[in-house]
Symmetry: none
Subunit: 423 residues, 2 copies
Amino acid sequence: MTVELISVGTELLLGNIINTNANYLAVQCAGLGFSLYHQITVGDNEIRLYEAIKVALQRADIIILTGGLGPTTDDISKETLAKVLDRELIMDDHSKDRIMSYFHNAASSDKEMSEELYKITDNNWKQALKINGSTVVDNDNGTAPGYIVEDDNKIFILLPGPPSELIPMFEKSILPYLKKLQDKVFVTKMVKICGIGEAKAETMIIDLINNQSNPTIAPYAKNGEVHFRITASANNTDEANSLITPILKELEVRFADNIYSENEDETLEDVVVKLLKDKKLTLCTAESCTGGLLGGRIINVAGASDVYMEGYITYSNKAKIKNLNVNPNTLNTYGAVSQETAKEMAIGAANVSGASVAVAVTGIAGPGGGSKEKPVGLVYIACSLMGHINVIECNFKGNRKRVRERSVVAALDLIRRSILTYK
Amino acid sequence: MTVELISVGTELLLGNIINTNANYLAVQCAGLGFSLYHQITVGDNEIRLYEAIKVALQRADIIILTGGLGPTTDDISKETLAKVLDRELIMDDHSKDRIMSYFHNAASSDKEMSEELYKITDNNWKQALKINGSTVVDNDNGTAPGYIVEDDNKIFILLPGPPSELIPMFEKSILPYLKKLQDKVFVTKMVKICGIGEAKAETMIIDLINNQSNPTIAPYAKNGEVHFRITASANNTDEANSLITPILKELEVRFADNIYSENEDETLEDVVVKLLKDKKLTLCTAESCTGGLLGGRIINVAGASDVYMEGYITYSNKAKIKNLNVNPNTLNTYGAVSQETAKEMAIGAANVSGASVAVAVTGIAGPGGGSKEKPVGLVYIACSLMGHINVIECNFKGNRKRVRERSVVAALDLIRRSILTYK
């Protein structure tokens, strides 16, 4: 089945808010095995919305409209759809009761707000109108109900714009309704890779991508990582899994230890923290150009405190000498951005912290500070694991933010590889 | 002039990523005084993209396409537009040279990685093709160039999908180009506020917002900050400025020292680093729950090394005692998340670093670790300025990521306010 999503709201066209609903509903449709080919955003404008609905009717089975269900005259989604379908708007007593009790509760719960705010305006009753023949979907988090309208083999779903209202409504009432429409089962697996660029990773499996039908393989690049999503549809879960397994095995052979996870919800830092825990290792970070971003990412992992002992942000040479015992001669001879300094930072961090793993990052993030010999983007990362040291040199392209983000990913990956290869 | 935005990418339709580009470009169009009436998202599908471009041609003067410029066979934006315009794709030697040097740098940077990884694949040369007669726009942060194509009174702008490539390219090359198309002068001013929530900030100037016409006032909430963009259109800059000035003055009166900047490009960390420099102060950070994110944000500022001496990531109690000399009794009696511990962390950081300003953050970011007395979101921040100490208690709502981000903003704001009130 084909879905088309129409987001309604001038605030989206002005850029006042990010359309996270489109993303949320896209994920839901993919999970349901529906094909979403078009996402449309229009403002609170009747002519353009009318036209968008008309076009969607020609190419989709299910049309989801978000936003434009509020109480103001700007809100026209329901009214416009009623015109397209040539149906009347009629008063829904159930919605009327709910709006009344919503205002009653709001007024009694918030003594500080003026009662004035909770007076029900005439506009509010507009929200109790429904398209004749539609099903009203209760909104537990606001006054605008949602609607399901079935019309001549087409289905319209109208949802309120605020994500705090849309998401609970979708999960409680719309998802069960849509699931009944889908007879196939969809299973997806993720293969997450780091240490290989997007183009290279795709080239490595281009034969699989070109021959895909079921399962499908979708790549996407993410900040120094590449993720492949494999999706199979079948009559039941076992059948879907048996379609996925051979592809998964093939990717494992081709990407080998560049794969850091096959778990949708697992991040690179999750894997690093898990490896440290499994091997009963502890970690210390020493950061120059990344200035704490690496530590910040490790602490993304709830429970990182079990393995992460401490971190040093040593942006200045003085701090490198004082806190990590880097030899001033090393800094003078090779410079702060050098293999030698990175190595001494890691050794120093291991010594002062007593951690079994210490990782150090030093580089030129730009925009200034680069030279011909040491250009912006040059970063050295050293990892000491029980005295065994790996140092890598990286040359990242891009602005300060990107160089620093890539450095963090490379440092996490170096910890991961160091642990994996350590016997 | 009317703009239509076409976002291209199956990853958007599958919900793998959020379309933040649409939001960014919407803000840019609004700032330029262009009317954006339709945002369209289609997948990497030639037929649907072709159709979307054809439709956009009928209703917009400027059509911006994002994504689909990558090296893989999936990437078809340039190819499809060439078909719509009935133009050839030709090799662009300048782009070819840039791609070659990009890979050359990557290959020479990483000795440990197999050279295999950096071989230029045939796919990559696809990115050196341009639509005949188009202007190539250099990409300083990736291999995919952008393009400007003028055709029969219509303008097409093709931009790479990753925001880290799109945004710098837009600001450097596309914005100046678009500005020349606009005969009215648009002047925008920003008022950036921290320390007040979005709803409260809006309520404080709701009379101005309700009466706006020219200039307009648009609020944007951003991670613990609220930005108001004031935009005036006029025949010349002086006229526009004279429309903006009274509104600006009024906002300054109402928000007073909650305004940290009126400069579009200036971030909160920029302001903090500038204040430190101006007052000849130095900084040390001591972070528990934020785990380096605060240091990471300060080092966002190129040249922060002049004032940022060092940082300590002390997530564990042991590290707080060892590196910051926090009294173990304080931790036992009041807990790691307490006013007392925050204070001792700041004092300790000031002592061990010798910095004139030391800021410390300790809190419960969640999802675990909360209790009735100390719920998730409780964060203490202490700032020591030449021995003078401010401690604040914050209660943030939301998930781990949000609590940590809000803590960083609150810590930066506390440094700012401490310096401003210090005589």
